[in-house]
């Protein structure tokens, strides 16, 4: 079972690299915001998979909840900043 979680984690890490291309070269700022939000969601799942590998899911669930929360608030804050800019 550990092998499965390890493979899933490596696969999702590879997906993060794909999304990172949109962050660096993405045309316009809105593509970048969406890509950063997607990376945040993927790293949340990677955190949970790490919890399964270390057999301490109860600890990692707390961390991933805070991560999701701050990801959401950061996304809203950047969107608000762009709205005030225009």
């Amino acid at each position: 079972m550990n092998q499965f979680f390890l493979g899933a984690g490596i696969g999702i890490s590879f997906l993060v690299l794909l999304v990172l291309y949109r962050v660096v070269f993405g045309p316009g700022v809105y593509n970048r915001i969406a890509a950063i939000s997607a990376i945040g969601t993927k790293s949340l799942i990677i955190l949970l998979i790490m919890g399964f590998i270390f057999h301490r899911v109860d600890m990692f669930v707390d961390i991933s909840m805070v991560y999701a929360l701050l990801n959401f608030i950061g996304c809203v804050a950047v969107a608000k900043y762009l709205e005030m800019e225009s």
Binding site: D58, M59, D62, V66, L69, V76
Partner: protein
């Protein structure tokens, strides 16, 4: 200055999410010695809930909840709780922040007094961090000029 958002989705989601964020922050503060977290982290989450409210509902709406005076009072109160518990341990002939001395006034066993003392310290730290985070965000978003300053 940040005004209220016109978007109904953002406003509704934020209004429904803020109580749960604050509940989770209280959980992080209370379970600081069993799970990751503690006073500072819980305070940051509490501050983040207020920042979310400020972003989505604007400064005038948020000020009804927690005014500038309230921020000053809360941040000083947290520091007072922290240093008060520390000094209380000094008065009870222990070291600074030596919680086991609190068992003399709490009428409990020393190890239980240590647990309660850490909880008190973390409550103080959480209050201060929340108030200071919120105050820093207000100051940055308004450029240091508050609306009521202009009226006077």
């Amino acid at each position: 200055m940040i005004r209220q958002s016109d978007d109904i989705i953002i406003g509704t989601v934020a209004r429904m999410l803020v109580p749960f964020i604050q509940l989770f922050a209280l959980y992080v503060i209370m379970h600081g010695h069993y799970s990751p977290g503690g006073g500072f982290q819980g305070g940051v989450i509490l501050g983040a809930s207020l920042v979310l409210l400020l972003i989505t509902h604007g400064l005038p709406e948020t000020k009804k909840l927690l005014s500038e005076k309230g921020v000053a009072i809360l941040s000083s109160l947290g520091l007072l709780i922290y240093s008060g518990i520390g000094l209380l341990c000094l008065i009870l002939l222990g070291n600074y922040l030596d919680y086991s001395q609190l068992s003399k006034i709490l009428q409990v066993a020393p190890n239980e007094a240590r647990s309660l003392g850490i909880l008190g310290i973390e409550t103080g730290v959480g209050l201060t961090v929340m108030a200071v985070m919120f105050s820093i965000f207000i100051d940055i978003s308004t450029g240091g000029v508050l609306p009521e300053d202009e009226e006077e």
